[in-house]
Structures are given as structure tokens and as C-alpha cells.
Amino acid sequence: MKRETRHILDHSFSGLGFFSIFLLTASLVVVLGPIFARGISAFVFKGTVEFRRLNYEVFNRGNKNNIRDEIQQAAKYREPVYTMLKQFKRQLNDGEIPGNQDYSNDFKELSKSVTELLGPEPGKETPVLMRDQYGQTRWDKAKETLHQVLYMEKWDYSDRSAMGKKVFVPRVQEYKGTSLESLFPYMEKNLENMLRPGLTFYWQFLTDSSYDSHIFGGIFAEVTGTLYLVFGAMLFAIPIGVTAAVYLSEFANENSRIVSLLRVCISTLAGVPSIVFGLFGLAFFINTVKVSGSKSVLAGSLTLSLLILPTIIRASEEAIKAVPRTYKEAALSLGASRIRTVLTIILPAALPGIITGIIISMGRAAGETAPIIFTAAVSVGKPLTLFQTLSQPTPALPWNIYNLVTEHEAVDQIRHVQFGMVFTLVMLVLILNLAAIILRARISKKLRG
């Protein structure tokens, strides 16, 4: 081969490598960027006076007098709204509305939107559901609700060949000539005064329980549930996995058929779809062994530990095999038994590699959804105490992300919670990994001397 050709080949290969890394980074940014940007909105956002009222009434946070003043300030601007609505309602009941348009249906819709925006009208009895007790707590949501107030949703069927089209008609036109006409410009102009948005840093999102199925409050139960599941899985998987790896690499007879069969089984186990593990966990741990009456953190941890066992065994085995043979020879030549050699020399030297395996499987256990559907996860629940994990199911981040998006009755209302959960899960895995990587680096450094 000519020198120039070799040069070109070398360069194009490194170019290809660089390109793939660039592609990977770019896709990561594309995926993680929006998650981070929108996830942070669960923590940092513009909160309205309603948010501060909620914070005081439910969590007892904030200065009572300040909040009372604020509520009074806001009420001053809200009063004309209620007055106009009341007047129009009376006219509607008495049939005094000019023109022949029927406003009764749309007025109901309008009142509902206003209640949603500002909360229940003062003086009325407190609604049962918590979501009805407060107006919009977030400024971005408030602006969306204002749009609902200002515009009427209509369907345009004029084009018969196509599907109906949604159009927004300004209510100010619809209500032209009635006493309500001035309501809409007033609300648009005074929304800020009625809700008083202010920048809020709601870090308690992580440590607050959820209220009214995630419409208010935080995700503490999900975070603790995930941590319980991850550490539970590690508790079972690490001792069993490392012991198995020690057996396979140090004690098992390499030529034995049973040992090769075992290795094949472990590889196969690594490739089993996670939902199968979930079903197995239900059938075995809950229905057969009966570790708990029904779903529980314990059953979920056991199931997850089975899922990550192959990873831990494989990584540990490789790490143990990579320990220089000379260490083992030296220990044995000093009269150490095999088990002592393993415990005092081989395992400490293999620790960085074993920890790598643990890091990988920890991330996996934290993010797995399918195995915990049948064994551990529920949509709504309180944070558990350590003792309760033996018998109680728990909400967990991966399952609740899915659950909120697919089954929640007010999906659009709580987008920020969903993104907040995704963000928290990603950060949780990142932090766990970072801690493990630092630990590994420290041990490696100590081993290298």
C-alpha cells in the first residue's frame, strides 16, 4: 500500500470515529436538553398567590400576614369579575339579555374556567376535591386558563371534504352588547394583579408528598420508593452476584459441563426481557414464596435483583480474572487458604471492576419499569418507612412517569410533574453513578499506590 493511501485511510477512520462520537453527543443533547429544561420547571417557576396560599394552608410555609395581605390585594382586583358574573347570571335567569343568542350553556363553561383560574368564589362552601379549592398555582398554567376564559372553542365544519377544524372565537365578540362584554378586557388586563405571579424556587418538590394525585405537592414517595427499590435490589444482588463470580472464576472446575451450562444460563438470563422478570417475580416471589401478601417493595427488590444479577456476575467475574495471577500465587505461597486469598487479596484488588458492574446495574435497576409493575409499584401512595417496605407497595419514579402520562385524569394539568419526575430520575441515576465512580477512582488510586 502506498504511503498516501495509508494516510487517507487512517484519517478517514479517525474522522468516522469522531463523527460517531459527535452523533452520540448531539443525540444526547437533543434528548436530555428538553428533559432538563422542562424538568427544571417543576422546581423553578412563577408561582401565583394561589400557590403561596396552598403552601401556607397545606405545608404551613410562608409568613401568614404577608400571605393574608396578598390575598386581600388580589381579592380587590377579583371583585369586579365576580360582580359582573353575578349580574349577568341574574339577567340570564330573568331573561333580560338583549338579542336572541342563547348564552346559558357557554356561561356555564365560562364560569367553570374562571373558577379554575381564580379558585372558588369567596363565600361559597369549600369544594371537596383539593384541585377545586385553589386557582391556578402556576403562572404558565394561569395564562393557558385565561385563554380558555377569553376564547370559545368552536368546530368549523364548512369544508365537507375534510375533518372538522377547531377554531377559537373571542368571547368578547360573542358577548357583545351584554353586561359581560367588559369582563374580558378587564381580566386580560388585570390577570397579574389577580394572581400576583412571583419567581418561586420549589425545591420541596423532592420532599413533599403529592396531594390530590400529583396535582399539588411533590414526589417524595416516588423518590423514596425508587431508592428503596434500588438499594433493596443491591442488597440482594451484590452478595449473591459476587459470591457466584468468585465461585465461577476461582473455585469452579473449568472443564465441568455443569459450569459451562451455568455460564450459558447467566448469559441467557441477561437477555431475558424485563417484563418476563416482572411476571416471574409475581408468580414466584408473591404467589409461590409469598414474601408479602401482594405487591411490596421487598418483592420488587428481589425481582430487580434477579434482573441485574447477570450484569453483576459477569462484571465481577471479569474483574476477578483481571487480578494478576501473581497476587494469588503470593498469597497461597504464604500459607493462605483459598478463601482467605479471595477475601483479603483477590476481592480488594478486583473491587474497582466489581464497582463498575454495580454502577451499571444500579442505573438499570433505578430505571426499570416492567419488573416492578406486577411486584412493587402503585400509582399513588405515601412514602414508606423502612419497616413498611417488607409488606407495602410504593410509588416509584419510572412507573409513575408512565402512569401519569397514560392514566392520569388531568394529564395536561401536570406536565411539569411528569417532566420533574423524569428530570429527578435522570439526576438520581447520575448522582448514584457519580458517587460510585468517585469511590472507584479512590480505590483504584489506593491500589496503584
Binding site: Y327, K328, E329, A330, A331, L332, L334, A336, G449
Partner: protein, 279 residues
Amino acid sequence: MNHQTTPLINLNIAPQAGETKQTHNIFNEQVHVQSEGFSIYYRDKEAIRRVDLSIPSGKVTAIIGPSGCGKSTFLRAINRMNDLIPGCRAKGKLVFDGEDIYGEYVDPVLLRKRVGMVFQKPNPFPKTVFDNIAFGPRINERKSKSDLYALVEKSLKNAALWDEVKDRLNDSALSLSGGQQQRLCIARALAVEPEILLMDEPTSALDPRATSRIEELIADLKGKYTIIIVTHNMQQAARVSDYTAFFYEGQLIEFAPTAQLFTKPKMKKTEEYITGRFG
């Protein structure tokens, strides 16, 4: 009853009755390790062929020979390190202190406490200097801190390393130089207080300066321990050993006092090898 003070390597304490033990060899030295018709196989390949060798007690015995002649295999048989190699088995007799090393009831762990070993490449554990030396003593018994420290100091002094590392006992052993590491390994082996010290080409990975320090050390240890050293380097064998065994293709060709073997070899093969005609 058997009233031996040293721990037996054989779990079966009863001595084989009626067996006459040869305690002195032809050079009228007390024998420490003796092989009779001793062979080692790697699966079907015979690595050592019917070797008869009496290694004298308290002396330095060198084993020389070209690569692949089985000298390391023989050495590693004495503390049964060959057990680590799958498919390796022994035939014949290899007697240590009157007991067959490959006997049915021998516990290799007990054996290795009495037969220490130093390897070709320095192989300190990735631990501190102190923990390296203390590794062997800690296995055997619970010693008080001061006893352990005294033992570590004694071992390091025996290995002529104390002065260099006395301020670095808590540093990683891997931070020492190659020669220091090898002397550390010797000290580590000495800390178990063995009777025999096996050395498998202990200086082949070291520079000349470190090599000469190890050789001085071997001279110091002579008399206190039975030392068996495998070496590629004939000058080294001539310098440090009292007796030399020449192995060729798995067989013992000649065993004689070193001076005699290097000056007046009896066998033609030996002469050819030491004069550099092959090997």
C-alpha cells in the same frame, strides 16, 4: 507418640513404620528435601522425569538448566504451587522432613507455611509495606500489635530493607523500586518463618545493582534457611550457591557442590551447557 514441635504438614500424624529415612546424602549433608523417582506430568507430557535429588539443609542449592528444562516445575513442586495448574500431577516421591509432599493427607496450606517462595517478578500486594509483611503472620495467629510490629521489623531487617523503608511502612508497597519490592517479597516470605525458601529466578526482572543486593541477602540468609534458587544466570549460581543441580529436558543430569560442578563437571552435557555450547 510423635513429639515434633513444628506443625506437621501431614494431617495423618502416624509415621509410616518400618521405613528407613535417609537423613544424609552422599556429600554427608543433612537432607531437607529429597526426591526419589519423582516425575511431574502436564496432562500427558512429562515435565520432570524420575528425578532423584537430595537437597541439603541450611545450604543454598541452585538449579540451572536451559529454558523449559523443568527447573521451575521442580521448584514449584516443593510447595505444591503446581496444584494451581490444571492437569498437573506428580508421580514418585518428594519427601520433606520425612513426609511425602504429594501424600494423600498433606495439607498444602500447612506445607506452604513451612516452605516460603519468592517469585520471578516482584509481586507485592497492593497494600502498605506493613500490611504486606504482616499478611502471613496474620493468617497464622492473632498477634498483639507490638508483637506484629516487632515481627515486621525483624523480617525487614533480615531482608536488609529496614533502613530504606522504616519511615515508609504505611506507604503502598507498589511505590517502592523493583529491587526494594523484591526484597519486600523476601521479607514477606521470611515473616511466616519458613524452613525452606524457594526462589524462582528472583533477580531476572532486576537491574545489576538490585541483583547484587539480593545476592548479598542470599549470602546473609544462608545457614538460617534452606534456600533453593532457580536461575538462568550461571555466574549467579556460581556466586551464591553451595550446591548446583543441572536439569536438562526434565531430567537431573548432575548434582554436585557448586565449585566442583562448574570446574570439573562429570557429565558431558553439563560441560557443554556451562561452557555455553547450548542453552
